[in-house]
Amino acid sequence: MPEKKPKGDSRETEKKLVNLGNEVAEQINKLKNPDVTIPVRALSNIFFDEKSGLVKLGQKVSHRTYMNVAHTRKFMQSLMVAAECKKIMNQGVSTSIRDLYYALKRTIPGTQENTVEDQSESDPVIEDLEATLNTLREKLHLKADRKGYVVGPIVIRDTGDRIDCSKMGSSGWAIPSNVEEEMIKFEKCTADFILVVEKDAIWQRLNEDKFWKKHNCLILTGKGQPARGCRRLINRLHKELKLPVYVCCDADGWGMYIYSVIKQGSINLSFLSDRLGTPAAKYIGLTTQDVEKFNIPKNVTIKLNKGDIKRVNEMLKYVWFKPKEWQEELKNMLQVGYKLELEALSAKGIKFISETYLPQKIQEKDFLP
């Protein structure tokens, strides 16, 4: 197959890959123990950058060297991943990380050993490569899982197709895995804000009730922990269209963690926080304090178990939950001893969330920072 030269952005990324190869080749040529420098992605090298409001990667690096028996295999895999990415880019296609795993897998001659045994081996190598080259996997032409939907007054252009997200019936626009500008462009948007909801069921409820029409907003769900595509989309929508972002999650450790990931970025992908995090996001609910505020029946709350309590106590210490509103909420959760899910609002009536809860919260600007 004739190699197509990658263009623009892709050319830059390809250059990074070739440079990596050249560096290693040079060391080997000098009979030096070859060595690749990789930013440390452990908790010890992560810090919360108060200025930007993002979780960021520090300066620590580790050296992956060939002559360290704990590194040799990973060293080989790193170069194999780099080589495979170059190949894909040259073909002008992209691939899933599972495909990449299969493309790399082969038996090492004379052994029973495979170059990669399963995907859990190749996935971290990809993340290492992203961090090392300071690039996104999307730019390496690798696709992550996709999840999530958008509805509301925005028109998008996706690889040439024009998609009007206000005319997507009951299903909404499915967020693709790659939402970089070379794929997705925002053509027109008249919305006033973005509402991000943790759960698809709530998204469907709000869509059915045409909440986005009444409140002139985009409604977006990541179906649980949002995928990279979804987080990047929120980031771009906010940055490029200056829309406020309100996040609506369960009132439990997991829901609040999802909020923090949308807002500050995640520890695991801290080297991408600039592109994945949206520090301006605000938390609209659910909180345990809402139970009193909205007179929610106690029997739809869920008792905290030991794990929950431990989790909340940890969260109390995180820098990004230091604002006094969050401290209050977390302490309240410990004190009342329960958590609750968004569906619990249904105990007040099916449309309670769209007709009472969210409108009141938005009107009173009753957000947590």
């Binding site: 190869g21 780099a82 080589a83 004379g110």
Partner: protein
Amino acid sequence: MEKPKKIVQAREISVSEFFEKNRHLLGYDNKIKALLMVVKEGCDNSLDATEEARILPDIYVKIEELEKERYKIVVRDNGPGISKKQIPKIFGKLLYGSKFHKLKQSRGQQGLGISVGVLYSQLTSGHATEIVSSTGDGKTHHYRLKIDVKRNEPKIEESAVDNGKEWHGVQVSFICEGLYREHKQSVLEYLKQTAISNPYANITFDSPTGRMEFRRGVEELPKEPKEIKPHLYGVEVGILSRMLHETKARTILTFLTSEFTRIGRLTGSEIIKKAGITYYNEKAGKEEPGFNISPRKVTDEQVANLIKAVKEVKLTRPPTDCLSPLGEDLIEKGLKKELNPEFVAAISRPPAVYRGWPFQIEVGIAYGGSIEGPKIMRLANRVPLLYQAGDCAITKSIQAIDWRRYGIESDKLPTAPVVIMIHMASVWVPFTSESKESIASYPIIIKEIKLALQECARKLSLYLSGMRKAQWQAERKSIFERYADETANAIHELTGKPADAIKENILKIVEKNIKKIELLEKREEALKNTEAQKPNGAAAEVKEETAEAGEEPPEEKAEASKKEVKENA
């Protein structure tokens, strides 16, 4: 007042009657074990006798099935024989023996063993026991005898002498009820273990399933144990009081120095002073230490004070020439001879003392090779213990060791292919019951066993980790080489440079660096070893639990203080 109806009427019970009714106390609880007990008592006596006479033992054992559950058992040795006069009492009277009143290491202790075999035979078969013995003087004595149970005296049914045979030794033949099996608590297992722990003995066994021979592995007997006097530490009030009345010594001081081991005039005087035994020296007009008071005049109170004084004085350990350990060399030879293992280690601990009796722990560990499952061999004065493993101080000690720390797979007891042999040599082994199958859990005994086990385990651990290290170094080199190909290919794809040249260079880098790494490791390890050994060992070894609630561990403290003293008695 109500008048009671009856008054207790009682009479004397002979010791034979007692054990006739209570033979399970002596190990005769079932037919399989009964055979083992008879063979064991015979062999123990034979080994004791030959060793004492400095003869390399040749033991012959035969078990023949006469009819269902009825067996003839023969045990023959090449020992010094028994004199005509002694034969009836030794075989026909319970609690008659040469070893009870001596402080000397031997297999038999109580004078109960062989005569109980005779009692068991007559009880279950009605047959007398046959004894043939010669002291090597050309005369051979033949006896057929039973025990008169009511009187605990021999009842001779037949006796004869013949002349002219060039043989010395003893042969005993029993006819009794039994059941022959070859499982792990059998005669066969007993003889196997005996062959390992007495590698200087030749043992021939004609069993119902055929002949087995255990050949001698070394041509030298272990050193002969000496008889000793009692040690003052651990002597109790009642015994001291009796000894004071029976002694030939004229003064307390000479009593102490002559009747006990390791009491010099200095220590003796100190004890008397501490006990506050004085007399009124009229010349000097004051109380003075009563060194010269007659032993018979010591009052009960003074006896008690003497005992207390002993605890305050530092005494030297008892002499240890009364013990005859196997020695590390003999243990290793015994294990190698019968087990064909891949690795052997042995430890003889220095002698220690419990309740005033010296004892010594020895441990041998054999690993791998022809050894299949894990096995524990418990020995007391070279005699294998096959029953009641659960109660035994040895089992408890093994369980208290964290074998995994030494790289030996275990689940309380080791599960690796390892044979652990533990030998307790003592002038007096504290069995938990008269059937002599398990050693009482005195803290000092458990401590000594654990120390020995730990030392052996460390040796095995070094061997195992050495083995693992060599494997690891080979493995490591292959790892570095294994990934060269794909690495070179990937670099080629990234850069366009020729893969072959890159691979060649990588292999050069491997060769160059691997030697550096190994050197570095050796240096590091040496450093680590010298640092780690001390604190590690100490911490594990000192930890000790008392085996049963309410057991007093008095020896332990005494032991510790005694170690610091040197005194020449």
